[in-house]
Subunit: 339 residues, 2 copies
């Protein structure tokens, strides 16, 4: 990790070298590949043939999170959205590089809590900071993370373009919680209880990448297409359809909802488009042959991850959503924009 000089101002901002030394170097000591963040580069040594997965996501204050969000949660979400991309490919996370553009006046306290959030999740996912860059910015906090994962050699990467006509469409976990959590934070929807309120906000702040499930499904070759849901269930399913030149039919009544989301939906059925298209779920969306479905369900049971069948892949290019009466749900009239 190096630190570039601020070239256009002589003002004395907190030293970026000091920030690296105090807050980020301790996150790198567990993995010698980081070279202690002392050498501008990380060195990964593979002693046998390897399949390396790389993914990069950036988040910006005021765009992807609220500037006043707790710094540890900002850090953890920035990291987890990348880990989720690895999960969706069945990869074991190895580590990450991070560049962070820090606004002038960011406090030591903020940085300490940010680093503490990263530390918690490094432990959670068995990874370390391997390198990066710390710079100053006159604009909002901007975090870019590149995550590195290892895919077992014998397995084929599940891509968006691998969906086949007749496939079952499955999802992990529950859908719409994070998008509803964002609406709660914005004060735009009513929730019946404080407990549900907190549950939804938590789902917005802290994605749970489905690493174990992703690795298990991919390792056993059970999956055709797979991705994580970040742009919303329907938008991301449409990505799979487009890449695979297929259509899809989704049974809206089969979409798994948490009790909190169900309570919110019962209070106001008009929030359904938020659930279907809101995004930030970070659950796995996949297609598989009907023969594999019972085995996949058993994997889910073994790992304690709910898995639900929500529809199937059809010929054509249309994505249809059927309501509880089997009628086409008019998604385009419901604020559904992502395709």
């Amino acid at each position: 990790m190096n630190s570039q000089k601020k070239q256009f101002s002589d003002s004395d901002i907190p030293s970026e070298f000091e920030i690296i030394k105090r807050f980020f170097r301790p996150l790198a000591i567990d993995n010698k590949a980081s070279l202690g963040l002392k050498d501008d580069v990380a060195l990964l040594q593979f002693y046998q043939p390897s399949q390396i997965i790389l993914t990069a996501d950036a988040v910006v204050a005021g765009v992807h999170f609220f500037p006043q969000d707790p710094p540890d949660l900002i850090a953890r979400k920035a990291l987890r959205v990348n880990i989720s991309d690895l999960a969706a490919k069945g990869a074991q996370p190895l580590g990450y590089l991070m560049t962070i553009a820090i606004p002038a006046g960011t406090s030591q306290f903020w940085l300490e809590n940010f680093a503490a959030g990263l530390k918690i999740d490094q432990h959670e996912f068995g990874i370390s900071l391997l390198g990066g860059d710390t710079v100053s910015t006159p604009g909002p906090l901007t975090i870019s993370i590149t995550a590195i994962g290892l895919l077992p050699n014998q397995v084929r990467l599940p891509q968006r373009c691998h969906a086949q006509i007749g496939d079952i469409i499955g999802v992990s976990g529950t859908i719409g919680d994070a998008a509803l959590g964002l609406q709660v934070l914005k004060g735009r929807i009513k929730i019946d209880s404080q407990q549900n309120n907190n549950f939804l906000k938590d789902r917005y702040w802290i994605p749970r990448p489905r690493l174990n499930l992703g690795m298990e499904l991919v390792k056993h070759g059970m999956i055709h297409a797979m991705m994580d849901i970040s742009d919303g269930l329907l938008g991301d399913l449409k990505h799979i359809c487009n890449a695979s030149s297929v259509g899809a039919e989704v049974d809206s009544a089969a979409i798994p909802l948490s009790s909190a989301a169900l309570a919110a939906y019962q209070l106001d059925p008009d929030i359904l488009p938020i659930i279907l298209t809101g995004g930030d779920d970070y659950e796995l969306l996949f297609t598989t042959s009907p023969d594999s479905w019972p085995i996949i369900e058993r994997f889910g049971q073994k790992l304690g991850v709910p898995i639900n069948k929500i529809g199937h892949i059809i010929s054509g290019s249309e994505l249809s959503v059927l309501d509880k009466d089997g009628k086409n749900y008019p998604i385009e009239q419901k604020g559904y924009q992502h395709f």
Copy 2:
């Protein structure tokens, strides 16, 4: 490469999907590892044991470049500062991931020129865009690049901590040009001719990573410590000294200057600290045993890269700069801040 939705505004900004499709996907088609930027991840397959080098640098408009700089040059510099880190480790570049936070209102014309700059340098360095993320920002343009390179298996990575007492300190190319170029752009220094003016600005805008030299030196095991000069010759030499627990003595008269820098220095000797500490050179700074020096000089001649001996590593922890009369040059009184 995926595209995250803008969550906190309903304003209709140019679609990030469209930006990826139109400007960035064409930069990814030459390397199948990118999966065409269609799958959130890149897949690198290594069929034999491998040493992978990863490095990440971010640049911010108004901090690392002027917002009005030509977009193709912004792109090329953002990429080249990362390639330079690979050069300093003797690695062959494979590709890069890029996250870019784009201010609202950025024109198609700007994006087209930005992508054209990347394309030129992809060709120059034999690399492709492998993945990344495109997001919007209410702040300045922010570019984060993670570059990936391959180090031959039989070689040892030259690290900052490998300098030994008695080593010769060498540099490639000429020092101070880019820092003077920045001062020219700011209108702060006088240059004797338009030609020199243009030369220095060009050196500021377009770093020349010393890839071939770096690979050759490292492959033949000629190098102890090595890094690229980004924070200034003396600041970066001090990094090597600190990491290796050694001191250094630099002969300022031996520091190689371009004819443009020499002319500027002769007009105003007070600019010496800018040359010594200004940074942005992206030349190689290395230490080596005296026995290896003649061989290294021959590598430089073979590759057409000037190589100069500028001092040597000594015991202790001090970095001394000797002036042309052999006296200690009082660097700390000359605006020298970087250590």
